[in-house]
Assembly symmetry: C2
Homo-oligomer: 260 residues x 2
C-alpha cells in the first residue's frame, strides 16, 4: 500500500496545499464548511490519520477552525485597529488616517471590560522596566476588554505601589479622565513612552483568558511610560490576538534624509 516515492513532499502536505489554495481562491468561502474527514479520506484514497494531519496543519496555520462535531470551517478574520499612540493623542491627525480607519471600525459593537486590581510582586520583565528592587511591590490593574461579549484583548497596567497608593487607581472601576491624568495630578506626568512588540504563540493562560483557538498568534505589547526625569511610572502589558487586531502607528514630520 505504500505510496510510491513521488518527489519528497509528503502526501498530507499535498492535501493541505490543495485545500489551502482552494481556500485562497475562494472555492471555500469564509465561515463555510469544508468536506468531512471521511470525504477527503475517500477522495484522496488515504487513511484518516493522513487527512487529519493535513487538516491539523491548516488549523495550526490559522486557516480553518474545527467545530466538533459539525466539521471544519474556513476561518474569517476581521481585525480592528489598535493604536498605541491614541492613548495620548485622541484624534487621528491626517485625512489619510481617517479614510483608513473607516475600513475596520468598531462602530455598532458593544464594548465591555472587567477590571481587577491587586497588589503583587510583578514578574521579572515588568520589574526590570519599572526599575523595582527585589521584593518591592506594584499595583496592577488587570483588564479584559470585550466586544459584543467576545474577549478582545487584555491590558495589565503595573504601577509602583509607592506612587499610586490611596489614589483612584487602586479602585477597580473605570477612571473617566484616565489613569495617566491621575498620575499627572500627583506629580508623575508621563512625557515619553517606549513600546515593545513581541510576536509569539500564546501561553495556556492567555489561551484561557482570551478564549483563543489554535493557530492564533498574539502580539505582546509592552509600554513603559516615563516622566520628564526618565523615571518609569507605568508598565502596561497588552496581549493582542493576531486575528482581532491591526496595530497602527502614524509617523510625521520626517525631514532627515533617511534610508528607505
Amino acid at each position: 500500500m505504500a505510496v510510491s516515492r513521488q518527489g519528497r513532499t509528503p502526501v498530507w502536505a499535498k492535501i493541505a496545499e490543495d485545500l489551502r489554495s482552494k481556500i485562497a481562491e475562494g472555492a471555500y468561502q469564509p465561515d463555510t464548511r469544508l468536506p468531512t474527514e471521511a470525504d477527503l479520506t475517500a477522495q484522496y484514497g488515504v487513511a484518516r490519520a493522513t487527512v487529519r494531519q493535513a487538516l491539523t496543519a491548516l488549523v495550526n496555520d490559522g486557516l480553518i477552525v474545527p467545530r466538533a462535531p459539525r466539521g471544519y470551517f474556513v476561518r474569517l478574520r476581521q481585525p480592528l485597529f489598535y493604536r498605541p499612540q491614541q492613548e495620548f493623542r485622541p484624534q487621528p491627525q491626517t485625512p489619510e488616517m481617517d479614510r483608513f480607519m473607516a475600513d475596520h471600525s468598531a462602530e455598532g459593537r458593544e464594548p465591555r471590560q472587567t477590571i481587577d486590581v491587586s497588589i503583587v510582586e510583578p514578574p521579572a520583565d515588568v520589574k526590570k522596566r519599572l526599575r523595582l528592587a527585589d521584593g518591592e511591590m506594584a499595583a496592577v490593574r488587570r483588564r479584559i476588554r470585550y466586544l459584543d461579549g467576545e474577549p478582545f484583548h487584555t491590558n495589565d497596567s503595573y504601577y509602583p505601589l509607592s506612587i499610586v497608593q490611596d489614589t483612584e487607581i487602586m479602585r477597580p472601576l473605570d477612571i473617566a479622565r484616565g489613569a495617566n491624568e491621575v498620575l499627572a495630578e500627583s506629580g508623575h506626568r508621563q512625557v515619553r513612552a517606549l513600546d515593545e512588540i513581541y510576536v509569539r504563540m500564546p501561553t495556556p493562560d492567555e489561551i484561557q483568558r482570551l478564549d483563543l483557538g489554535p493557530g492564533t498568534p498574539v502580539a505582546c505589547h509592552i509600554c513603559t511610560g516615563l516622566c520628564e526625569d526618565g523615571t518609569p511610572v507605568r508598565v502596561v502589558v497588552n496581549i493582542l490576538p493576531g486575528d482581532r487586531h491591526v496595530i497602527v502607528y502614524e509617523r510625521g514630520g520626517m525631514r532627515g534624509a533617511g534610508n528607505e
Copy 2:
C-alpha cells in the same frame, strides 16, 4: 471552548503540559535535547502516536524544534530590535552600508542581503495603499536580509512605476544614500508614514523564503510613505519572524489628556 474541559483533559495534553512546565522551570535548558519519543512512550505508558501528539502541540506553540533524526530540542529565542522609526533619522557616515547593516554589524554579526528588482502588477493590498488603477504597474525591490547566513526578514518595497522609472531605484544594488533620498530628489519627498502591523502565521511562501520552523508566527509590517500633499509614493511590506524580532517604537512629547 476553554470551559468545556472540566478535568477531562486528554492524555496528550497532560504530557504536553508536563513537558511545558519542565521547560519553563528550566529542567530542560534551551538548545538541549528532550527525552526521545520512545522514552516518553515508556514513561507515560501510552502509544507513540499519543506522545507524538503532545510533542507536535509543543512544536506548534514554538517551544520545541524537531531535528530529525537527532531528537526534539528546546527552542531558544534571541530577538533583535527592529525600529520602524529609525529609517527616517539622519544617516550615519557609513556610505556603503544600508541603515540595517550599520545597526546590526555593531553586534558582531555578519549582515548580508539579496536584492531583486522587478516590475509587477502589485497585489491588491499594495495596490489599494498606492491608489493605483487596475492594470497600473509598480516597481518592486524585493530584499531578503541575512545575519550570519541565516535569513532574518524580508523587505519588499513597491513604488508607482511612473515615478521611479529610470532612477537608481530600478537597479538591483544597494543605494548608499537610501531610496527615500532618491525619491526626494525627484520631487517626491515623504513627510508622513503610516505603519500597520498584522500578526499571523506565515504562508508557505514566507516559510520557504525565511526558512521558518513550525510554530513561528510573523509580524507583517506594512509601511505607507506619503508626500506633503498626501500622495502615497511607497509601500513597504516587511515580514518579520516573531522569534527574531522585537518591534520598538519611541513616543515623546505627549501633552494631550488622553484616555489611559
